[in-house]
């Protein structure tokens, strides 16, 4: 039978990791939105709807950002060996 102190420490650790994960996700979303908006949407707001070009640009931007995030995550994971 586990010591209740150890159990509570484990629970706190898991909560801490979940919080960190949540913060990481929110940061990723904010950075992605900011960077893709600055890259794709022209400054002269001529209309309120997204053009087809801007729509395509945002699709591609998000896809590339996601791929880059995954790739860098993998490289970080194996970075210690190299």
């Amino acid at each position: 039978m586990e010591c209740p102190l150890l159990v509570s420490i484990k629970i706190r650790q898991i909560f801490g990791m979940a919080e960190k994960e949540m913060e990481y996700r929110v940061e990723l979303f904010n950075k992605m939105t900011q960077s893709c908006f600055n890259k794709c949407v022209d400054n002269k707001y001529k209309e309120s709807e997204l053009n087809m070009g801007e729509n395509t640009c945002i699709d591609r931007c998000v896809s590339k950002y996601w791929h880059v995030t995954n790739l860098i995550g993998q490289l970080l994971g194996t970075g210690g060996k190299q």
Binding site: C40, K46, M52, G53, N55
Partner: protein
């Protein structure tokens, strides 16, 4: 005392002006239906078909109008009813050919603009230029390469002018 009352009156005036301004709408993310609608409208095939149909409608109207203006050649030899039937047939022929021409024009222009804009991922006047050139070349392709070049240049210039005019008035 008079100053204070004057300030109170001025404040009331400003407040009532501010209340009359339209309320700012709260932010709302697009719903699923809106996103699906946008996706359907961003499809190149759907867009070009709709443009072709609209071009056809415009062609029918123009053909009716222009066909009504033409006078038949044998006006003295026909009775009133024959004249009416002849006129109606002429208007129909004219509007059908005009509808076909305009439908092709609208279809090709819209398809070219959609493809170019999707490839470049930018909303520019260059898209309109290239689409106009393609449409002009497609329409006058039967006259040979020189006619195609002239058609391309002419239609591209025309569509750029129309686009700039529409941009300024919106």
């Amino acid at each position: 005392m008079a100053d204070e009352s004057q300030k109170a009156v001025a404040n009331d005036f400003v407040n009532s002006k501010e209340v009359e301004k339209p309320q700012i709408q709260p932010l709302s993310l697009p719903t699923v239906e809106e996103i699906r609608g946008q996706d359907i409208w961003n499809n190149c095939a759907v867009r070009s078909v709709v443009s072709g149909v609209m071009g056809g409608g415009l062609g029918i109207a123009m053909g009716l109008f222009l066909g009504a203006l033409d006078n038949p050649m044998m006006q003295e030899q026909m009775t009133g009813k024959q004249q009416f039937i002849f006129q109606a047939k002429q208007m129909g022929r004219r509007s059908w050919s005009s509808a076909k021409a305009f439908a092709v024009m609208g279809f090709v222009f819209s398809a070219a603009e959609c493809v170019v804009e999707k490839a470049r991922a930018k909303h520019d006047i260059t898209n309109t230029f290239v689409a106009g050139c393609t449409t002009g070349a497609a329409i006058s392709a039967k006259g040979g390469p020189q006619a195609a070049c002239m058609g391309c240049a002419g239609f591209a210039a025309f569509s750029v002018v129309i686009e700039k005019f529409l941009e300024r008035h919106q």
